[in-house]
Symmetry: C2
């Protein structure tokens, strides 16, 4: 086998991943076959399988792209001094969702919507979605602890409840943007800020 | 044609609708054919088509069942005296979602998840989902006006932002229950209450 550079491997992997994203965004997971992805990427079955042995591996890699980006913003918020208010934090997270998904082509948030539907039917996809949810909630848990210290929420509140609620708020933002489309990130966060404690 | 009672027509229509729900919950919209629904209902094509000329009509009837139930709880909240706080209102809405969807068999919230995925690909399904979203937001708008009068939110807030946010919160609840499953209605509303103005 000829030696190839690390950069080449990374670029080829990304090329396949983006071809898969175009297929998933167009037709969902269920109706996309590995053959569709060979055709869309312009590569042979062998070339694709070398990087992604199955459709599930592509789903996992897509999930990895999203969690990595979201993980970074949680790190930023958790270490900001002073801690951003709940509304400011949601603003930062929603901006990151936009940047990672809706602002790019294909829009990864559409793929997320298909993944959620598929997760109900396919336990393996369900496990990937659960893993992302768990990481996102962990990100919020770290911030909730700081909100307690800053007086934004009461100290006797169960942090898991707040983290779960805010995960729902993120999912609801993605769904609403895709389903109704007439609410901006700013309007959504304004709606939250109107109900929440602390400065916008 | 023999004369049939109104009650018979209603019962037969519901029988077909519930057969369709079982198919949709199991396989989603896209992978369910009218043939599947004939088989599941135990009725002939002619009998089913008499009530539902297409799969889209079944989707619309399913949407109607959900909006009717949700509409009732918004009426109740909008006319309650004094107006329930934001957290109390969300509690009532989430309880209604549970009763209308997760507490019955088949679980209509699973069908909603599939409908959201399909809405991105099929404009006709998208229009049905948008219509539901519009009604739900209108329900919240009436309540937001009363929250302003009661001092729960500032009078200069754009009510559409709050209604859109709360629609997202509802969608996020349904998604999280189906995707992660480990957060109860009470915990979700507690998470909101911890961040929001007004008594739980």
């Amino acid at each position: 086998m000829p030696r190839v550079s690390e950069a080449h491997l990374v670029a080829r992997r990304q090329q396949i991943l983006e071809a898969a994203w175009r297929c998933f965004a167009r037709n969902g997971f269920h109706a996309t076959s590995m053959q569709d992805i060979f055709a869309e990427s312009g590569l042979s079955a062998g070339a694709v399988y070398r990087y992604f042995p199955s459709k599930l591996e592509l789903v996992k890699a897509t999930a990895g792209t999203i969690t990595e980006g979201v993980g970074e913003i949680f790190e930023t918020i958790a270490h900001a001094d002073p801690v951003p208010t709940p509304a400011q934090s949601l603003d930062m997270v929603v901006d990151t969702i936009n940047r990672l998904t809706m602002a790019r082509e294909p829009d990864l948030s559409k793929i997320a919507m298909h993944a959620w539907s598929e997760a109900i039917r396919e336990p393996e996809v369900g496990a990937v979605v659960k893993e992302i949810a768990s990481r996102i909630r962990q990100g919020w848990l770290d911030i909730v602890a700081r909100w307690k210290a800053a007086g934004y929420i009461r100290t006797d509140v169960d942090p898991d409840d707040v983290a779960g609620f805010l995960y729902g708020v993120m999912v609801g933002y993605i769904a609403q943007r895709n389903l109704v489309g007439d609410i901006s990130a700013e309007q959504y966060v304004n709606g939250f800020a109107a109900l929440a404690h602390g400065r916008r």
